[in-house]
């Protein structure tokens, strides 16, 4: 069996795992912030979305390279 399939699978799996942990921490803190100060919901939502974009970047880089490995481009 071609080992690149396993390599790509591992890269995508760990990317998803890391993104799950990161987003979990981010949004649990976001909900805590809303629970403490419900009137700050609007500003917190914008900040949370921007941080989501920053957090999501590193796992998605891993996933993109995983897809490249999976399809045998590199």
């Amino acid at each position: 069996m071609d080992l690149s399939v396993i390599a790509g699978g591992i890269m995508i799996a760990f990317g998803a795992l890391a993104a799950g942990i990161g987003n979990g921490v981010l949004f649990s803190r976001y909900l805590e912030g809303i629970a403490r100060q419900p009137e700050a919901r609007g500003t917190l939502f914008g900040q949370a979305m921007v941080t989501l974009g920053l957090v999501e970047a590193l796992p998605i880089i891993s996933i993109a390279f995983g897809l490249l490995v999976l399809f045998g481009v590199i």
Partner: protein
């Protein structure tokens, strides 16, 4: 995966889809901005409203990131970057142009083997930001500009900052300066590339994948494209402001 036509010229390989994509995006941005600023009035209507909203949105970024005197100077640059990246991201999700090619076309790099492996399906349009060369070029151009802006502002401070707070930190500063444009480029490219590949997989996949999951993913891709355009602009402004900021800032 589909194959893309490529041109070999002077030993370099040019991807035709990326060139078409960049051209279409640039022309669309030009048309959009020209249409929005035709017949401006004090009471904005229609497109002018949208463009004013975008301008004020980007003005928020520049005023947040840059010293007040510099914010107005970099506004047009930030708006250009934002509009180009945003339109490019969204076009890649919405537009898709493929054709079936049966005869090999040598000068476009469509050989018989490549056509057979892709079942004759050739892609003619993709988001320029889903190609790593485009984003790397953009990110390194911004980084180069930031370095020169810092150098011309005050050479002594520019070189001094590499040895702060200790001279031993010099290697770390070099790694930092190289990592910034690399992650800046990879962040945008990876998001858009992974999104487009997943759309292709869902489209060509099993029948139960092409309905609701594809629609949900396209919706998420539109959202990610907007967020990444915003983050690309914010990071560009952050990297420039780090170099040109005053000492007391």
């Amino acid at each position: 995966m589909e194959i893309t036509p490529k041109i070999k010229f002077l030993g370099l390989t040019f991807d035709v889809t990326v060139m078409i994509g960049t051209l279409v995006t640039a022309i669309l941005v030009l048309i959009l901005v020209l249409a929005a600023t035709r017949g401006r009035s004090m009471r904005p209507r229609g497109m002018q409203n949208v463009m004013e909203m975008v301008l004020e949105f980007i003005q928020g970024i520049t005023q947040m990131m840059l010293p007040p005197k510099k914010a107005a100077k970099y506004l047009s640059f930030a708006v250009t970057v934002f509009l180009f990246v945003f339109i490019a991201n969204e076009l890649g999700v919405i537009v898709m142009v493929t054709s079936e090619v049966h005869k090999p076309i040598a000068w476009l790099g469509l050989t018989k083997q490549a056509l057979e492996s892709a079942k004759g399906e050739v892609s003619w349009f993709k988001s320029p930001t889903s190609d790593i060369n485009v984003t790397v070029a953009m990110a390194f151009a911004i980084a180069l500009y930031a370095h020169f802006a810092g150098l011309f502002k005050s050479p002594r401070r520019y070189f001094g900052h590499y040895f702060k707070p200790y001279a031993l930190m010099f290697p770390l500063h070099i790694i930092d300066e190289l990592a910034k444009p690399t992650t800046h480029a990879a962040r945008l490219w990876a998001n858009i590339f992974a999104g487009e590949v997943l759309i292709l997989i869902l489209r060509n996949g099993l029948p139960y994948l092409t309905g609701i999951p594809l629609m949900a993913w396209i919706g998420f891709s539109l959202f990610v494209g907007a967020i990444q355009a915003y983050i690309f602009t914010v990071l560009a402004m952050v990297y420039i402001s780090q170099k040109i900021a005053d000492e007391d800032h």
